[in-house]
Subunit: 149 residues, 2 copies
């Protein structure tokens, strides 16, 4: 596991990280904007180019990359973890019907941390905020079931 990154530049990789074909394709998969795929979804996609890639490789890379700060790991709802190319600070809405996840412009809400700091003896270092609702499709058409992404 990579713990220290002593050379992080724009588009650069932390020291000790090699750029393999697998890793590059996984990153590319996350580069498409507006996607928040699960590990398995990344696996299914990359598999079309490297048919014998291992699911473990996908998990390991997603972990390493998020440790290195190149992607973000999201804990949304109670299901699988999701991964996001972290470009700018933003939030997510989560459809309780079909599971779809969308980006939400706006924020950050810095004052939330202030309120928390005033009310607790914890050393507040941040917060996780996820909105829930019904997406367009589930709102006005018959709800479809469980599409991951």
């Amino acid at each position: 596991m990579v713990t220290i990154m002593n050379k992080v530049q724009a588009n650069a990789k932390p020291a000790g990280l090699r750029m393999t074909r697998q890793r590059r394709l996984i990153l590319e998969e996350l580069d498409a904007p507006g996607r928040h795929p699960t590990a398995d979804a990344v696996y299914q996609q990359v598999r079309r180019r490297i048919p014998n890639i291992s699911l473990g490789t996908v998990y390991r890379n997603l972990e390493v990359l998020s440790q290195a700060g190149m992607i973000r790991k999201l804990h949304i709802g109670s299901g699988q973890k999701r991964y996001d190319r972290k470009l700018h600070k933003h939030y997510h809405v989560h459809c309780v019907q079909c599971g779809r996840i969308s980006d939400l412009p706006g924020g950050p809400f810095g004052d939330l941390e202030e309120v928390a700091r005033g009310n607790s003896d914890f050393d507040i270092i941040g917060y996780e905020l996820e909105f829930e609702g019904l997406c367009r499709q589930c709102k006005d058409s018959s709800p479809r079931q469980r599409e991951p992404n």
Copy 2:
């Protein structure tokens, strides 16, 4: 699974729910204020009074009770689910070091939903907000590892 509750009064159970010894003790376990136990922690506690209670029974009851709105299911961090007797609207802080969870007075932040509503075509129905930080003990003493509760 209970889907409809047509008779909910103060301290009353929804129609169709029977009050068994197991269910009562599980509820009592959650009644102690300031606790946010995992399913397994509830299991360990109740087991001292009903030694042969089944872990499945605990899970099923926690599910049924939260469906009935009598308790709240929390998804905090990436670990196990936690359960909370839902008395009033409040938030939680989560120690990233030891995993401890504390209540946080203050809120609700109703304006968050307004902002989200303005920025999305989702039908926003709520949000999940969890703060993260270091608890008192982990802040100034040597950190202890992973106490659930």
